[in-house]
C-alpha cells in the first residue's frame, strides 16, 4: 500500500482509500445511469419477445430499402422459400379451378357441357380438363426457317409482320444458343434442342440435315403439329436441298419457301380456338357406330309415330258402312202369356192368346268409338256385374249402344267371330262425337 501511496496521486484506488469504496462510490455516481440502460438493453436482447418488439418497427423499412437497392439479391435469397410456396399455391389453385369447372360441368345439362362430358369420357379425362384444355388455345405466332450451318435466316412468316425486323438477328442468336447447349451438354452425342419454354410461350424446334424450323407458339400444342412441322421441313429439304447445301445467303434462291411455311400459322389460330386433338381410329369407329345406331333409332321412332298416327286416324274415320239406315234392334223377346178363364158352364174354352209385343229401339246411325285401352266386357254397367269372358283390345273399333253413367254398352265383332255385346267403363272408350241423348237414357240398362 506504501508503494501505491508513493507512486503518486495518478495510481488509482489508493487515492480513494484502502478498500476502494470511495472509488466504487464514484463509479456508481458516474455510471449508474449507463449501467441501468445497459441492464435494460441486455434484458431486451435476451428476451425474444422484447427483441421482436424492438426490431419489428424498422424491419419493414429495412426490407423495403434492401429490395430497392438490390432487388436481384433479395429475389435470390427469398426464392428457395417463396418460389416453392408460389409453385405449390399456383398448382393448388389450378387444381381447385379444375375441380370447380369439373363440378360445374357435371351438374350442367347444357348441350355444350354434355358434349364435353362425352368427349372427356371418350378420352379418359375429366370434362373440366377438357374445358381447361380448350381455354388455352394454341396459336403459332412466328415461324423461322434457319440454315443449320450458318444460322442465317432462310425464311420467316409471322402473324405480326410489322414486328419481324429482327428476325435475322434472332435466328443468329437462336443458332448460337443451340450450339452452346449442344457443346455444353451434348458431350459429343447427337442431339438437338427440340423446344425452349418461356412463360406461356414455347419455341418448338424441328431439325433436318440442312435447316431447322423454329415455331414460336402459345397454348397447348395439338397432336400432330410436330408431325406437320417435320413434314414441312422435309418437304423444303427435298425441294431446295441443292440450294441449301451450297447456300450463298441469297434468299432469291428460295422463292416459294414462305408459301410452304404460311399454313403453319393457321394451325389453331387464337381467334378460333383449336379443336381438341384428333380421335384415334378406334374412337372414330365407336363414334361412327354410335351415330349409326342413334340415327336408326331416330328413324324407327319417326316411322313408328307416323304408323301410330295413321292407324288412329284410320280407326277414328267413319266406316263406309256407317250409312244412316235404321237398324231395328230387338231388345225384347216375345213372352207368351197363358190366360185361363173358368166358367160355370161346361163349355169351358181355353184360348191361347199370344201377346207378343216386340219393342225395338231404332237408332239413326251407329255411334262408333275406339277403345283407348283393353278392357273386359261386363254384363252390366258396374264392376259388380258379371265379367264376360271377352276382352276388347285397345285400338278396336266398337259401336256404342247405350250409356249408363260412366259405362258404355258396346257392340264388338271380333274378326271371324260372333258379335259380342257388353259393358265397359267409359274411360277406355274414345268417342269422336257426342253420345245421342236417346242412348244416354238408361232404358237399355238393367
Amino acid at each position: 500500500m506504501a508503494q501505491t501511496t508513493d507512486a503518486g496521486p495518478d495510481t488509482g484506488s489508493g487515492a480513494f482509500g484502502e478498500d476502494g469504496s470511495e472509488f466504487e462510490t464514484l463509479q456508481d455516481i458516474l455510471f449508474s445511469g449507463d449501467r441501468r440502460r445497459i441492464g435494460e438493453l441486455e434484458s431486451r436482447v435476451n428476451d425474444p419477445d422484447a427483441l421482436a418488439a424492438m426490431v419489428s418497427p424498422i424491419l419493414g423499412d429495412a426490407i423495403r430499402r434492401k429490395i430497392r437497392e438490390d432487388r436481384d439479391e433479395m429475389i435470390e435469397a427469398l426464392y428457395p422459400i417463396i418460389g416453392g410456396l408460389v409453385v405449390r399455391a399456383v398448382a393448388e389453385a389450378i387444381r381447385d379451378l379444375a375441380r370447380s369447372v369439373d363440378a360445374q360441368m357435371r351438374t350442367s345439362f347444357k348441350p355444350g357441357a354434355v358434349w364435353h362430358r362425352f368427349q372427356g369420357r371418350l378420352r379418359g379425362v375429366s370434362s373440366g380438363e377438357m374445358l381447361l384444355r380448350q381455354a388455352l388455345p394454341f396459336a403459332v405466332d412466328e415461324v423461322f426457317l434457319i440454315h443449320r450451318e450458318t444460322g442465317l435466316l432462310l425464311s420467316h412468316v409471322s402473324r405480326h409482320p410489322e414486328t419481324a425486323s429482327d428476325s435475322d438477328v434472332i435466328s443468329g442468336m437462336l443458332t448460337a444458343i443451340r450450339d452452346f447447349v449442344q457443346d455444353t451438354f451434348g458431350q459429343g452425342r447427337e442431339g438437338d434442342i427440340d423446344q425452349i419454354l418461356y412463360g406461356n410461350q414455347c419455341i418448338l424446334i424441328e431439325s433436318s440435315r440442312l435447316a431447322y424450323l423454329a415455331a414460336v407458339t402459345t397454348g397447348v400444342e395439338p397432336t400432330g403439329f410436330r408431325n406437320q412441322l417435320r413434314e414441312t421441313l422435309f418437304g423444303i429439304d427435298f425441294a431446295y436441298g441443292e440450294v441449301l447445301r451450297r447456300y450463298s445467303g441469297n434468299t432469291a434462291d428460295l422463292v416459294g419457301v414462305a408459301d410452304r411455311l404460311a399454313p403453319l400459322l393457321d394451325v389453331g389460330s387464337a381467334a378460333a380456338p383449336a379443336p381438341p386433338a384428333g380421335l384415334s381410329r378406334t374412337q372414330k369407329r365407336v363414334l361412327l357406330v354410335a351415330t349409326g345406331i342413334l340415327t336408326v333409332c331416330i328413324c324407327m321412332t319417326c316411322l313408328g309415330s307416323v304408323w301410330t298416327i295413321r292407324t288412329v286416324q284410320a280407326a277414328l274415320a267413319p266406316l263406309p258402312t256407317a250409312t244412316p239406315t235404321a237398324t231395328p234392334t230387338p231388345t225384347a223377346t216375345p213372352t207368351p202369356t197363358l190366360t185361363a178363364t173358368a166358367t160355370a158352364t161346361a163349355t169351358a174354352t181355353a184360348t191361347l192368346t199370344p201377346t207378343s209385343s216386340p219393342t225395338s229401339t231404332p237408332t239413326q246411325s251407329p255411334v262408333l268409338a275406339v277403345m283407348t285401352g283393353s278392357s273386359w266386357l261386363r254384363s252390366g254397367p258396374s264392376l259388380d256385374s258379371e265379367r264376360l269372358n271377352f276382352a276388347v283390345e285397345r285400338g278396336r273399333t266398337v259401336q256404342i249402344l247405350a250409356q249408363a253413367g260412366d259405362w258404355f254398352e258396346i257392340r264388338w265383332t271380333p274378326p271371324g267371330g260372333a258379335e259380342i255385346v257388353g259393358w265397359v267403363q267409359a274411360e277406355w272408350v274414345g268417342t269422336t262425337s257426342p253420345i245421342p241423348p236417346e242412348l244416354v237414357t238408361p232404358t237399355a240398362g238393367p
Binding site: 442465317l152 438477328v169 445467303g249
Partner: protein, 172 residues
C-alpha cells in the same frame, strides 16, 4: 435490289475492342450480357455495295465472339458456316497480333474459304506499340488488307466492314 446475308465473325483477344466496334456501328437487338453468358452475341450490319450489274444489299450477321478462354471450347461451333471474319488486335498490346494466328487457324478448320480483314484498333490512344510492319506482314500472309480503326472516334470502322463486304460479294 437483291439482298444477301452472310455470317461474319469478330475475332480477337480479350479487350481488344471487338464489342466496341460492333456497339458503335451496327444494329444491336440484344444486350452485351449474352457475351458473358453464352460467349457470343449476334448483331447486324447492313451495307449497300456495287456489283457488276448494279447494287446489292448485304446484311452482315456479325457474331461477336467473347475473347476469354472460358468460351474457347465453343469457338469451333460458333465459327462454323462463317463467310468471313474481322481480326481485331489492340495497337497498345503487341501480343494481341500474335494471338490472331490461332483464330485464323481455328477459322480455316471449319470454314476454309472464309475471307479476312485485319483491324488494328484503339489507334486513338497515344501509346501505340504495335509495329505496323508486322501487321502488314500478317495481313499480306492472309492476302487481305489492314485497317487502323478507332471505335472511340469511328475512324476506318465503316471502311473495314465495307471492305469485308466487298470481298464476300466478289467471292460468290
Amino acid at each position: 435490289m437483291p439482298r444477301i446475308s452472310k455470317k461474319v465473325c469478330l475475332l480477337g483477344d480479350f479487350a481488344v475492342g471487338k464489342t466496341s466496334l460492333v456497339r458503335r456501328f451496327v444494329y444491336n437487338a440484344f444486350e452485351d450480357k449474352y457475351l458473358a453468358t453464352i460467349g457470343v452475341k449476334v448483331s447486324r450490319k447492313t451495307v449497300v455495295l456495287p456489283v457488276r450489274d448494279g447494287l446489292v444489299e448485304l446484311a452482315l450477321l456479325l457474331w461477336d465472339l467473347a475473347g476469354s478462354e472460358e468460351f474457347s471450347a465453343m469457338r469451333a461451333s460458333y465459327l462454323r458456316g462463317a463467310a468471313g471474319a474481322i481480326l481485331v488486335c489492340d495497337v497498345t498490346r503487341p501480343d494481341t497480333l500474335a494471338g490472331l494466328t490461332a483464330y485464323v487457324d481455328d477459322m480455316r478448320r471449319v470454314a476454309p474459304n472464309a475471307h479476312f480483314v485485319v483491324a488494328v484498333n484503339k489507334i486513338d490512344l497515344p501509346d501505340a506499340r504495335l509495329p505496323y510492319a508486322e501487321v502488314d506482314a500478317f495481313a499480306a500472309s492472309l492476302h487481305t488488307s489492314c485497317y487502323l480503326t478507332s471505335a472511340k472516334t469511328g475512324d476506318q470502322v465503316e471502311e473495314t466492314f465495307r471492305h469485308l463486304g466487298r470481298l464476300l460479294v466478289a467471292g460468290d
